[in-house]
Amino acid sequence: MTTNPVKITARNVQVYYGDNHAIKDVNVDIEDKTVTAFIGPSGCGKSTFLRCINRMNDTIDICRVQGDILIDGEDIYDRKVDPVQLRAKVGMVFQKPNPFPKSIYENVAYGPRIHGLARGKAELDEIVEHALKRAAIWEEVKDRLNAPGTGLSGGQQQRLCIARAVATEPEVLLMDEPCSALDPIATAQVEELIDELRQNYSVVIVTHSMQQAARVSQKTAFFHLGNLVEFGETDRIFTQPEDPRTESYITGRIG
């Protein structure tokens, strides 16, 4: 397997929720144009760590982050960095599909609009169409772009949310259990989509399903009780785990 350049670097990251030490000294290098999966039992801190990468934790008052996270060598917790701008560069897809109560078109156009990415209506139309095609939902919705986004099925809603995230041209796409609210067919569609997104983005996906991690990711990180226990090629993690805790988890003994 070819090695891609490193996109995200985390060094000695600590996260506290009030007095709770949620992430303990995590170091990891996430590659560009790769799908990296975070797995681990509930409450192990994988979602928390994911939310550090686009500073979504800033919106939670009691949360404190220490250590360095660098994207393309730039510290995103530096005071010069505007977290709002950062989130445009690091898109996020959430556990539950959360389309805005607007039309399908407006949902996708939301990001480009607030960041002023389009000059004129024609360009915006193009961005929306492109994003919807990227998210493999264009064929299903092209005739009803003005219908409300909330009227779509769960799987369609989630792909709409992915289109929405893609529309702002991010460099990194964070996905927090994107399939946990979906049925198997919708899950398969989204997984296929994730695989395609790898061509352009660095994708980080948190998942509870080890099968999913094995199917879509090239790198896997196993978190346990706030520690990054093991990180490496997905194939190796699932076949020859080095740490006994990883082995217990993937064989179903813990978690």
């Binding site: 979504m56 709002v84 701008q85 560069k89 959430f94 959360n98 805005f100 939301y110 960041h115």
Partner: protein, 488 residues
């Protein structure tokens, strides 16, 4: 007095039946179907409920029957010009009560009272001695009617006492007989409790229906005397107690809507912004302090707001817009403290907590996932609020505003003190205008005769107001409920 007797009887029944229940199983309570107190409560119910119900009905119906019977005794010629049956009846009642008082004080014996005669004695003077003042000398038919009134009432009271006590005793006997070990007293009490609760609920609803109907009937009376076209389509409000008044709702409706509009103009932005701050930006500590403080505004009696309007806001506005050269703006636009703007501003302040409290709840009901989605796309907080949270909450906010509007339309005290009393249709907010509610107050205060269109118009006004606010409330609640369903 009778109520007391029934209650004492009921408590005795409770104790006796409870004892009998225990005795019937030889003191072993486990054999009883229910706890002993349930048997007692059954007796209490059986004794008190039917008898007190009959008592209440009797007290309602007897005066009507007596009145009908007595009115027949009064010949039409006794009723003077400008008077009415109602006035004569109140004389009859006063004489009858006066005689009762006189007997109670020992001024006359009951035998004398029954044989009083207009020719032989001056009843007016006699009653005046015991402190009952009559407006005029007593005519013979009126005295006869009063005597009849007394007699019927006395008979009625005796019959009532008897039947109530009999019912209570029958209830007691029934409860006593039914008390055996197998009697399911617990279930009986349960049914009784349920009936009581249903009664309370239906009473509230029936009262509402009653209010609506009484307004409806009085309004119909009004429209019999006054042309409905003048009321709904006329342009002048000029009540004149000598009759022949212009009674049109339009100037009042205009004043009402204009003042409410200004009030909403004040309350909606301030209330909404306060709600957005509280629900989106304020930390839990600020919120814990600020929200109750804001809601204190809702607890201030509206008469206090009225005083505030009259004594603070009004003079302040006059010093800005009035007083010519001495004023802040050197203009002479405002002549008095009472004006549409005065009432509207103060009412707006009153409405702020309505808007903010409801909107705050509604904004809080917008799922956090929508906010996260927007933040995740790189939107700032205010962009998120403006483009995601508010559109999502909009239906609910509209509902909140409509509720506030219906409150504004029905508000009375602030406009009584702040808006003035001149009915007119004008666009100038610095002029005094008047509203439906203030005119209802002024038409019904002071000496009034409930048969003239000038007073009955109050009911027509009230009914219109009721229909208006009811409509707004129904729409608002419908919108708010639909909104809630969307996110639950």
């Amino acid at each position: 007095m009778l109520v007391l007797i029934v209650l004492v009887l009921a408590s005795f029944g409770y104790i006796l039946v409870r004892r009998r229940a225990i005795a019937s199983v030889g003191g072993d309570q486990r054999i009883l179907h229910s706890l002993p107190s349930y048997y007692g409560s059954t007796a209490l119910m059986f004794i008190a409920v039917p008898s007190l119900l009959v008592l209440a009905l009797w007290l309602l119906i007897q005066p009507m029957l007596v009145q009908n019977a007595v009115i027949g005794l009064i010949p039409a010629e006794t009723i003077n010009e400008g008077s009415s049956v109602g006035l004569v009846m109140s004389d009859v009642r006063r004489i009858a009560d006066g005689l009762d008082t006189a007997i109670a004080q020992g001024a006359i014996t009951s035998v004398n009272a029954a044989s009083l005669n207009v020719e032989t004695s001056n009843i007016r003077a006699q009653l005046a001695e015991v402190g009952v003042a009559l407006g005029s000398d007593v005519a013979a038919p009126v005295l006869a009617a009063a005597q009849r009134y007394r007699a019927m009432n006395a008979n009625g009271s005796t019959a009532m006492t008897l039947s109530v006590l009999t019912l209570a005793l029958i209830g007691f006997a029934l409860a006593y007989r039914m008390t055996t070990a197998a009697f399911r007293a617990r279930n009986t009490v349960e049914a009784g409790v349920k009936t009581l609760l249903i009664l309370a609920a239906s009473l509230a609803i029936l009262t509402t229906v009653g209010i609506v109907f009484s307004m409806l009937f009085e309004s119909i009376n009004f429209f019999r005397m006054h042309d409905w076209r003048d009321f709904f389509l006329g342009s002048k409000w000029a009540p004149n107690f000598r009759g022949d008044s212009d009674l049109s709702i339009l100037p009042l409706l205009w004043g009402t809507l204009y003042i409410s509009f200004i009030a909403l103009l004040v309350a909606v932005p301030i209330g909404l912004f306060a709600a957005i701050y509280l629900s989106e930006y304020a930390g839990p500590k600020t919120r814990a302090v600020a929200k109750p403080l804001l809601e204190i505004l809702a607890g201030i009696p509206t008469i206090v707001y009225g005083l505030f309007a009259l004594l603070t806001v009004g003079p302040f506005l006059v010093s800005v817009f009035g007083r010519g050269e001495e004023g802040f703006l050197s203009v002479e636009w405002m002549s008095g403290a009472t004006a549409v703007l005065t009432a509207g501003l103060v009412m707006g302040i009153m409405l702020i907590p309505f808007v903010s409290s409801l909107s705050d709840d509604i904004i809080n009901a917008v799922p956090q996932s929508l906010r996260d989605g927007s933040f995740g796309l790189g939107a700032t907080h205010s962009e998120t609020v403006r483009q995601v949270v508010l559109p999502a909450a909009l239906p609910g906010i509209v509902g909140a505003i409509l509720l506030a509007a219906s409150r504004a339309i029905g508000e009375t005290m602030i406009v009584v003190l702040g808006a003035g009393a001149i009915a007119r249709i004008s666009l100038n907010p610095l002029e005094a205008m008047t509203t439906i509610t203030t005119r209802i107050v002024s038409q019904l205060t002071g000496d009034t005769n409930f048969a003239s269109p000038e007073t009955l118009v109050a009911f027509a006004l009230g009914l219109t107001l009721f229909v208006l606010t009811l409509g707004l409330n129904v729409i608002a609640l419908y919108i708010v409920r639909r909104y809630r369903e969307q996110y639950e």
